[in-house]
């Protein structure tokens, strides 16, 4: 007796994927920018070995961002960096989890605690990068959004918060 069945292609979540791709681009550029401007980030990354690469990837096939530590700064490597060459990879398990994170409905720490992410590589270094990402969020987001993303909104002085924000935005948009 012949069994009736069907197969179909899974399709894709176009809007969410494109949104996350754009956010990955900005976050990657912003990580590079804060590494040049913010003292706290400079101290966090100071212990990284030269050539160290961190990657944030959305499973199974991206988008992604990668940054490399070179000459005391982070350099944005784009969204096509080969995963096997990265030293630490934070993998967000699916596009829905990434969308929650990048729309600030769930903070980075909470997303981590809720097992939305897996880490490949050294956990201690991954934590240092997560702290840098928190600083990036503080610079890029208005206070009411940043408070959702962070455990505690930091108390920064005027120059760091406002002038720093202008510089970070400028460097993020221009890539300088």
């Amino acid at each position: 007796m012949k069994i009736r069945y069907y197969q179909k292609k899974p399709g894709s979540k176009v809007f969410k994927t494109q949104y996350v791709k754009i956010m990955c681009f900005f976050v990657g550029r912003a990580l590079a920018a804060v590494s040049k401007v913010d003292q706290e980030v400079k101290e966090e990354i100071a212990t990284l070995p030269e050539g160290f690469t961190f990657m944030l990837k959305i499973l199974p096939y991206g988008p992604s961002l990668a940054v490399t530590y070179q000459q005391k700064r982070l350099r944005y490597e784009g969204g096509n960096y080969p995963e096997e060459q990265a030293d630490v990879v934070i993998m967000i398990k699916n596009i829905e989890a990434a969308f929650l994170l990048f729309t600030f409905q769930e903070g980075t720490a909470l997303a981590f605690c809720r097992d939305r992410m897996a880490v490949k590589g050294d956990l201690t270094t991954a934590m240092a990068i997560v702290r840098c990402l928190n600083i990036v969020e503080t610079y890029l987001l208005p206070k009411f959004l940043a408070k959702k993303a962070l455990k505690r909104y930091p108390e920064w002085n005027f120059f760091r918060k406002h002038l720093g924000r202008i510089v970070i935005y400028f460097r993020t948009l221009t890539g300088i």
Partner: protein, 398 residues
Amino acid sequence: MKEYYEFFCPVKMVVGHKALDHIPYELDSLGAKHPMFITDQGVVSAGLLKHVENAFKNSGMIIGPVFDEVPADSSLTVVNQLASLYQDQSCDSIIAIGGGSVIDTAKGVNIVVSEQATDLMKFTGAGALKKPLKPFIVIPTTAGTGSEVTLVAVIADHEKDQKMLFTSYFLLPNLAVLDSRMTLTLPPHLTAATGMDALTHAVEAYSCLGKNPLSDAYAFQAIGLISQHLIPVTKNPQDKERRLQMAQASTMAGIAFSNSMVGLVHTLGHTIGAICHVPHGMAMSILLPFVLEYNLKNDPSGDYQQNISQLLLPLLGDEVYASTKHEYRADKVITYIKRMKEQLYQLTKMPRTLKETGKVEEAQLEEIAQASLGDASITYNPVEVEFKEALAVLKSAY
């Protein structure tokens, strides 16, 4: 609702009086007949290895190779040597008998022999293991670390003076055997320290950001058992029934924290252990009430107070819980834990403060606070912690 969590505990528990005698059957179920035994001199001198050897009578299985010199804090060199011995002797499984160091060493050996590697270093961090490991049985001889149900191994590289962390679901043993005989000879000061370690696991699992209903159930029950049995068994170490209850509590606390992680107590405790070599359970006992106070004072959401308040029920029972006003319950939990510490000090001289350990100088507190910020567990603490806050907690615990 955006809540999401993961819970995983595939470890089979074999629990009770004479539980060891089920090991040959369980080995056969796993398709194994030639296990390597890994233990330490403490277990041997306490006569505990004899119980395990006796369990193999009538089984027809050879007992050995037996390695009984695992150092405290485990060792990368020993792991690599044991892996060579495993291959040379054509073993097909591993039995670990001991505390956290023995179990972690055995986990490390299992990585090397299963991946057919020669060096454990290639598998540090998370995500390095891709397939199940060899059959692995754990027989804990302390009632504290919960290593028999955790997916983590910490192994010291003494040459580079650093500790390496291995994390994988594949590190979980196939079987954990809780036999009341295996903790009977645990000295009172270790009973106290490991018991408080288990209490800290359960409290942090219940109150940190990774908490979930399944781990809460284990943590809640563990806290009740520890509250009932830790002080009495410290006074009367030969009480088999209480020893079994504490072993179960420790395993339940291990299941809880393995699935919801821990927070600031472990963040600071790991660093104090690494820098000042304060034993882990002792550090947990000292820090627990001070971290609870810090988190309670600084959590704006009120969730932490809610969570800690609920722990008054397993700690002091339904009558005390019902008769205590809601806003005072969390403080009563902390007061009770401090009282437990005081009682354990009277019984075993277990230090109540960092200064009493004799191993921590006040001048080291800044170094400890700075180094602790790199510990991954800090992410799970419900309240943000920076250098000055970590230092303040350490000073209050000093």
